[in-house]
């Protein structure tokens, strides 16, 4: 991790690779993240409706959904999906490059493989996970609005207005900040596991597997710390 901070600000910058990784992490994950978020929005609304109806608080569903999605479900679901999709890809890709001596080939060509492979990918995940979370939040709202219209009637505009009116600075700001940390740990752990893979094909699978496990745990730990810190504010 220290090496990352030592190298990330030092030129030459590998912009081209950063953009390509942003495309892979961001664009290529959008559909999966959107689908998951949509389902989460629908399920959250359907499952909470009976309880809310019992208290005559149907009109509070948009607010309940927005706070849940923005503070917790959007960031965490996005991060966990990315642990599986992006972290495992990076672990396997770099592990495979290690096993087939491609990383050594970079090293002997006087190309810094850490900067080219690890720094670029970690920067990409750090930038893209927050963007994916925003997309996930919006799509989850859409899912929740559609689910609400199964039994009740609400216009999209009214639903969004009601949802946003329940959000405060402390709901949005800490949630956005923690997504950068989620992105960072997903990238750095995925790359670290792959970069440090040993020789042998088995290590590629292990690198991918341990990248997912370690980054998922890291995401939950960061989420817990973020909740504690937000609580103190």
């Amino acid at each position: 991790m220290l090496r990352f901070f030592r190298e990330v600000f030092v030129p030459p910058y590998e912009w081209r690779e950063v953009f390509y990784q942003c495309y892979l992490v961001g664009y290529k994950s959008t559909f999966l993240i959107s689908l998951t978020a949509f389902i989460m929005g629908v399920v959250l609304t359907i499952q909470s409706r009976p309880s809310m109806a019992a208290f005559g608080a149907i009109s509070l569903i948009p607010g309940m959904v927005s706070v849940s999605v923005i503070r917790e479900i959007g960031p965490v679901i996005t991060a966990i999906i990315c642990c599986g999709k992006v972290g495992s890809r990076m672990g396997a890709e770099l592990g495979s490059m290690r096993v087939t001596e491609q990383i050594d080939a970079m090293e002997v060509s006087a190309i810094n493989p850490f900067r080219y492979l690890v720094v670029t990918r970690t920067v990409a995940t750090t930038l893209m996970i927050p963007l994916l979370t925003i997309i996930a939040d919006i799509v989850a709202f859409l899912g929740a609005w559609l689910a609400m219209n199964i039994h009740d009637t609400s216009t999209l505009r009214h639903f969004f207005q009601a949802a946003i009116s329940h959000l405060g600075f402390l709901d949005i700001f800490p949630a956005v900040i923690k997504t950068f940390f989620f992105g960072f740990v997903i990238g750095i752990i995925g790359c670290f596991k792959g970069f440090r893979a040993r020789r042998g094909t088995e290590s590629v699978g292990l690198a991918a597997n341990s990248a997912v496990v370690a980054s998922s745990i890291a995401v939950f730990i960061i989420d817990m710390l973020a909740a504690q810190i937000t609580d103190l504010l």
Partner: protein
């Protein structure tokens, strides 16, 4: 005959009988010679027979010009397993040194030490007169640009096409070179290895021999002065292996490259070697030309030839 053998533990050899006569007055000044570090502590060895085993100074004197690669007392262990136990060798400019040895004798480890992929436990490695252990990361990288390394499996970047594989080192090291010049250089290198028509293919679409050729082209594109070949013909059919061996010779002639080739393949050694070193149990067991070693009466040496 330039090879030696000891009945118990073999000692690195460098008989000067086949070397050109050297006028003592024409000898380079001692200060021009690469610095030789104190020999590392290695496993005790029997006293060499001085009638055939020259001391280190004599070994250096056999090099009629400053060697591009000079290794002295190289020791490398992995945990308790001592792979290299004090290897001494040199490579002169324009020379192709072939290193032969059975599996597990540390041949690949030896050339990986030359480019900093492995770091020796003891001993010195001088390349172009510079002790690589004393180099900073940036200086080591500057040196690496002057050294090409062809991996056993070619190690092509499998997410890139052939064109991108060749363009990648240029993009990193020739930033001021125009796009047209880079393209011309890529085409020239692919033409050299006879695979110009594969320029847009991914490595997964290439055969083993084609991959090796592309790997060679990618390595040569930075015009290295030293080439290190790690088993260049392993896994190839006889015909393709012959083509790769010929290609190594062609490239050496065309670009005047010094090289070290690690191989088990005797036809490859015969075609490419100016001099051969045999590694056994982590040290240099014998040294000489292909013909010299072929005529050896030592059973272990003969086992490579017959």
């Amino acid at each position: 005959m330039n090879y030696i053998k000891n009945d118990t533990v073999p000692i690195p050899a460098a008989d000067t009988s086949d070397q050109p006569d050297i006028d003592p007055q024409a000898m380079p000044d001692a200060s021009d010679q690469p610095e030789i570090a104190t020999q590392p502590e290695i496993a005790p060895q029997p006293t060499p027979d001085t009638s055939v085993q020259p001391d280190e100074t004599a070994a250096l004197a056999s090099v009629d010009e400053e060697p591009v690669v000079l290794i002295r007392g190289l020791v490398k262990s992995f945990k308790d397993h001592e792979v290299l136990r004090g290897v001494d060798l040199h490579v002169k400019k324009g020379e192709n040194l072939v290193i032969l040895g059975k599996s597990g004798t540390g041949k690949s480890v030896l050339i990986k030490c030359l480019v900093g992929l492995e770091w020796p436990d003891a001993g010195t490695i001088s390349i172009f007169g510079e002790d690589i252990a004393a180099l900073s990361y940036n200086k080591m990288n500057a040196l690496r640009v002057r050294i090409g390394f062809l991996f056993q499996n070619a190690a092509l970047y499998d997410s890139m096409t052939v064109r991108e594989n060749l363009a990648f080192p240029l993009r990193q090291h020739k930033k001021t070179m125009s796009k047209e010049k880079k393209e011309a250089l890529i085409n020239e290198m692919l033409d050299n290895v006879g695979l110009l028509d594969s320029i847009d293919l991914l490595p997964s679409k290439l055969s083993g021999g084609q991959s090796k050729r592309i790997g060679l082209a990618r390595t040569l594109i930075l015009r290295p002065e030293i080439m290190l070949y790690d088993e260049p013909t392993t896994g190839l059919d006889t015909g393709t292996a012959r083509e790769i061996s010929d290609l190594i010779c062609q490239m050496k002639r065309k670009y005047n490259i010094s090289s070290i080739t690690i191989t088990h393949d005797m036809p490859c050694a015969r075609i490419t070697a100016d001099r051969i070193i045999l590694l056994k149990d982590g040290i240099v067991y014998a040294e000489g030309s292909y013909e010299d070693l072929e005529q050896s009466e030592d059973e272990w040496i003969r086992s490579f030839f017959y």
